[in-house]
């Protein structure tokens, strides 16, 4: 294994600039751990560490301290040099067919902020157990066996730090319990799509706290050139571009330099209050919420890029840069834009991939809302004949938690054409601020980074980058074939019945019907006439780790089976849908008025679910027409057997119960 260390000088510079606040620090690249000869074998220690990149404050966050796995069994990594920016995150660089081996060690301190740790049966959460989920990877969620006592990508295991105490007798844990460390072995299928993925903890009840405190890493499979610029002229341009990896992270810091892992979405703005007049550079200021509420005055809510608030992004070539962006925030939604102060408008950029899958719409992209409302497509100007229908350009991109996007960012003129930059051409990379519905949250407008374009290089610039991804229809079958052995080992289950032809499953998002202090998911099956199948309705309830809501058998020969699901958000705030172990397509729905439309072949692993018009506190109220919901329909190609989950990836909602277990079994 090769470990490419951060360039110390860059880190030191970053610290220097960050601490003085006089000049923007450069945007650092995450530390890279690359596979070698088909294997990446690492020790990953989850522990506390100071965040040294925030001006004025030096809070303690939680980080993944990663190193090649010591051969002597040591459960700690060598001491990192000062300024290593562990909080910013790391990148695991893998190739299709690789094996990712992780020994996860829990050295986290006890958790003090968790709301759910106050629940009697979940008091053990205060011990801060952890685990990992390889988000977006199409890999097996297998459990250990005697022959192979490692874990696949399952969330039904947690690792305790034994220094935090022993598990209480009445702990209602959600799966296996390990003490000290856990070994994972993730087999990446040979046919796995190249792209951008990530890794994060997934312990129900404190996922928000752990990710919010900093625990996240990104994963890349293959290389950009696997799906971008496969023709010679385009490849030459790609070769001149820098490729940046950005982790969108946020952290709320009080005036005494304490990081709040139980995030308060009103930190900078009261729910009913007006938005700040101008975006802050990398942060917004804490406010006093009232005489009987919290006061965050003197604190800051940082929105950083790879751990650095408002870094300088200086391009080195007129061909621009590829930005590989992952929203690793636990709750925050970003509406990313590239503001050009000279033109006083948001610049155009080309979207190369979403959620790790290349945007290759071979049938042509609709010049309308696509991918569940995440991108509003704009024609890419100046593209050669025939290519414009395959390229996706936009001026903004909605990034709900867990979303990824890869963008080509380059200087453009007033007509949006790619041009060689003039001296002083700059832009501001920002999130415009967004409110996620009448009962939703304010996500502040923040200037995330200062972009300087480069005039260097004399070669002719392309107007559009050619994107050639894998055939989306073929991905599930290839993955199922690669994982045939793992799928077969899971075995069949006679109780697991296929969905009748023409039927679909309906998932409700809303308040737990038995306790409105919790959120949850409901379920029913719907026939080809759109009527609920009697006896299938399960009212909205908080996460039950013991009972799968849905059981799906694979098709004969363990071939993939595609199901259509209808996702109905009954809340007056936006949610999003994420399911493990697969990518799915969003399909048009005649009931949808905004927020969702056909993907035209784009596959994603999370999709926004727009809030209702009006208020529905229950499924019954929705049936009575007391609100208007905006259902989203998705086609889910099940190709991987095992037990996993689907949930809202706004993690305060997931921790509140908006998650369900699903079981996929081999064909009978």
């Amino acid at each position: 294994m090769r470990a490419v260390e951060l360039v110390k000088a860059v880190a030191v510079l970053a610290l220097l600039f960050a601490s003085t606040g006089t000049k923007a620090a450069p945007l650092p690249e995450p530390q890279v751990f690359a596979s070698d000869k088909g294997v990446l074998d690492i020790l990953m220690v989850a522990r506390a560490a100071p965040i040294e990149t925030f001006p004025l404050f030096k809070p303690t966050g939680w980080v993944y301290d990663i190193c090649p796995r010591p051969k002597d069994g040591t459960l700690a990594c060598p001491t990192k040099p000062a300024g290593s920016n562990l909080y910013g995150g790391s990148r695991l660089a893998l190739q299709p067919g690789d094996v990712l081996k992780v020994r996860l060690v829990n050295r986290l301190p006890k958790i003090t902020d968790s709301e759910h740790a106050k629940e009697k049966e979940h008091a053990y959460l205060a011990f801060n157990p952890t685990n990992i989920h390889t988000h977006g990877l199409e890999v097996s969620p297998r459990f250990p066996t005697v022959d192979n006592p490692t874990y696949g990508d399952t969330v039904f295991v947690m690792t305790l730090n034994p220094a935090n105490g022993e598990l209480p007798p009445d702990a209602a844990v959600h799966g296996d319990v390990r003490v000290g460390y856990t070994d994972y072995q993730i087999d990446i299928p040979k046919s796995h799509p190249a792209g951008l993925y990530w890794l994060h903890p997934h312990v129900h009840g404190i996922a928000m706290n752990q990710i919010g405190a900093g625990l996240a890493a990104i994963i890349t499979i293959g290389d950009i050139s696997d799906y971008v610029c496969k023709n010679a002229s385009c490849a030459a341009a790609l070769g001149r571009m820098s490729i940046r990896h950005m982790l969108l992270k946020d952290a709320q810091i009080t005036k005494d330099s304490t990081l709040i892992d139980q995030e308060d979405t009103e930190f900078c703005q009261k729910f009913t209050g007006p938005p700040p007049a101008t975006p802050g550079r990398g942060f917004c200021k804490g406010i006093n919420l009232g005489p009987h509420e919290e006061s965050y005055v003197g604190g800051r809510w940082y929105f950083s890029l790879t751990g650095v608030p408002y870094p300088a992004i200086r391009m080195k070539n007129s061909a621009g840069e590829i930005w590989r962006i992952t929203n690793t925030s636990s709750n925050a939604t970003y509406n990313l834009q590239l503001f050009n102060p000279k033109q006083n408008r948001d610049m155009l950029f080309q979207v190369l991939s979403l959620d790790g899958i290349a945007v290759d719409a071979r049938g042509g992209l609709a010049a309308a809302a696509i991918s569940g409302g995440r991108v509003t497509a704009v024609p890419c100007p100046g593209s050669p004949s025939g290519l414009e229908h395959k390229a996706l350009c936009a001026r903004s991109i909605l990034m709900m938690p867990s979303s990824r996007a890869e963008l080509w960012v380059v200087d453009r003129d007033a007509n949006d054409k790619v041009v060689k930059a003039s001296a002083g051409d700059q832009a501001v990379f920002r999130t415009s601020g967004i409110k996620t519905g009448p009962s939703g949250d304010h996500w502040p407008a923040i200037d995330l980074g200062a972009v300087t374009f480069s005039a260097a290089g004399s070669a002719k610039l392309p107007q559009v980058l050619d994107v050639t991804g894998p055939s989306h229809d073929e991905i599930p079958a290839r993955v199922a074939a690669d994982l045939a052995r793992a799928n077969a080992k899971i075995g069949a289950n006679a109780a697991c019945k296929p969905l009748p032809a023409g039927h679909m499953r309906r998932i409700f998002y809303g308040l737990d019907a038995s306790d409105p202090n919790f959120l949850g998911l409901g379920y029913e099956e719907v026939d080809e006439q759109g009527k609920a199948v009697p006896g299938t309705f399960l009212n909205i309830s908080a996460f039950d780790p013991a009972t799968p809501t849905v059981c799906v058998p694979l098709a004969a020969g363990n071939k993939p089976v595609t199901e259509r699901w209808q996702l109905i958000n009954l809340a007056a705030e936006d949610h999003n849908f994420h399911i493990h172990q697969m990518k799915f397509g969003v399909v048009g729905d005649p009931q949808v008025e905004h927020g969702s439309a056909a993907t035209n072949g784009i596959l994603v692993d999370n999709v926004p679910l727009p809030h209702t018009d009006g208020v529905c506190a229950s499924v019954a109220a929705w049936r009575q027409g007391k609100c208007k919901a905006h259902p989203v329909r998705v086609d889910l190609p099940f190709a991987i057997a095992g037990d996993f989950v689907y949930h809202c990836h706004i993690l305060m909602h997931e921790d509140d119960g908006m998650m369900a277990r699903i079981r996929v079994r081999a064909s009978p």
């Binding site: 250990p144 034994p162 598990l167 460390y181 080992k489 013991a546």
Partner: protein, 135 residues
């Protein structure tokens, strides 16, 4: 048990300090595999110095007798690795199998607390149905 020497030497260690018993293990060494036998569970044998697979299996059987609905009837302890949390209590990382499980050979992991009684080991926590809700 592989950790006997360690735990004997550290028998006086209490509470959180016992974490060393787990973290100080030589993680690189292969884990010894042990499976309980019915014979070991029923024979009268001297009380072990630290809990092991047969004693935990026997303690589980005792607990099942007292509350059958809270325990599985198909559970076999596969491996145990215990460290002291007092003079008579041990905290054990165990793995187990369930013969009626629909998965193929799913090896479960959990932790239990064992206490040395007058003439037998007692399962004080862990392995109750509902504790590990996802199973």
């Amino acid at each position: 048990m592989r950790t006997v020497g360690l735990v004997l030497g550290a028998a006086a260690i209490a509470g959180g300090a016992a974490v060393a018993a787990f973290l100080a293990r030589d993680a690189a060494k292969p884990v010894a595999m042990e499976t309980a036998s019915a014979q070991a569970a029923t024979e009268v044998v001297p009380l072990a110095v630290v809990p092991d697979v047969p004693t935990i299996q026997a303690a589980y059987a005792d607990a099942k007798t007292e509350a059958a609905d809270r325990h599985f009837d198909d559970l076999t302890i596969h491996h145990a690795d215990c460290g002291p949390i007092g003079t008579a209590r041990f905290y054990c990382q165990i793995s187990y199998l369930r013969t009626k499980d629909d998965g193929a050979g799913h090896l479960y992991f959990t932790v239990v607390t064992m206490e040395r009684g007058h003439d037998r080991w007692v399962l004080k926590s862990g392995l109750c149905r509902g504790d590990d809700a996802s199973h």
